[in-house]
Symmetry: C2
Subunit: 168 residues, 2 copies
């Protein structure tokens, strides 16, 4: 897979799987809504401060973030660190109209936080083979870019793809 194909896999995903090590030292997974990306290696996820994975990542930030397309049989596993933060600029950046439904006190709701995931390497596979990217290659994909919200583009792509398959 080329870097462009890998970025496309990430960009067309609304969700990713966050892997971490539980308090008992055993692996755990949580599906997360993940549409804020800076290249391939940096991702932002808004979530509940009170959730089990946030508590655990605060103590032990080793994590992986996995984007996969089951039907296309392709996936990329990013290995790195997931740091929960209450940084106000990030909370404002990720806040959406209607989020009061989940966080009644708004942007400053103590239960609202952001996880910043930073990858150190990536391993990917597809039907035609597998490969890896190191930190320098991941950094190159973020060069000159700020965090971008890919939600609207992702929804538009999904709609176009559904339309295409209806016509087929």
């Amino acid at each position: 897979m080329t870097t462009t194909e890998l970025q496309s896999l990430i960009d067309r995903s609304l969700f990713a799987d966050l892997g971490y090590i539980g308090a008992d030292g055993r692996p755990a997974i949580r599906r997360v809504f993940c549409v804020w990306h800076r290249g391939m290696g940096a991702h932002l996820i808004s979530t509940n401060t009170s959730s089990g994975h946030v508590k655990r990542l605060t103590e032990h930030p080793d994590a992986c973030l996995y984007f996969a397309d089951s039907e296309a049989f392709e996936g990329v596993c990013l290995t790195g660190r997931a740091a929960p933060t209450r940084d106000r600029a990030l909370r404002e950046l990720l806040w959406n109209d209607g989020d009061e439904k989940y966080y009644p006190l708004g942007v400053d709701d103590p239960d609202y936080c952001v996880i910043e995931f930073t990858a150190e390497r990536a391993e990917y596979y597809r039907y035609d083979g597998k490969g890896a990217l190191d930190a320098a290659q991941l950094d190159a994909t973020a060069r000159g870019r700020a965090y971008e919200n890919g939600y609207e583009r992702c929804r538009a792509q999904q709609a176009a793809s559904t339309e295409g398959s209806d016509e087929a």
Copy 2:
């Protein structure tokens, strides 16, 4: 979620996410095709003997198996052990016509193996709350049952659900 609702989440999934600890001690994830179940706690996955997760699980079988429905915002994380095996009865059980595409030497292809996942506990969440099941509760869901291939039932459910949404 009731045990019936959790079993339904598993039964309508074609894929699950297998979490394990990589050789560097950090979490890793691999999406796997997972339709053979015995209740909620025991699952069979056919895969390539040569793949990275099989090599790693042979050394370090601590694993989790995660079934999730992103749109419904529900998921269940099973924690347990994932044991790669070359048991011939299991290889025969999981073999499908056409698998020669992946394993040219057939059922006895040295690259064809089965991972047997056995859960010791489960943690689940949905919009209406979260909960856990222990080993005894998981064992109860398997009582009197053999491994069953849920593929046809799953495909039929997906087709019915798509039909329903087309009509809506």
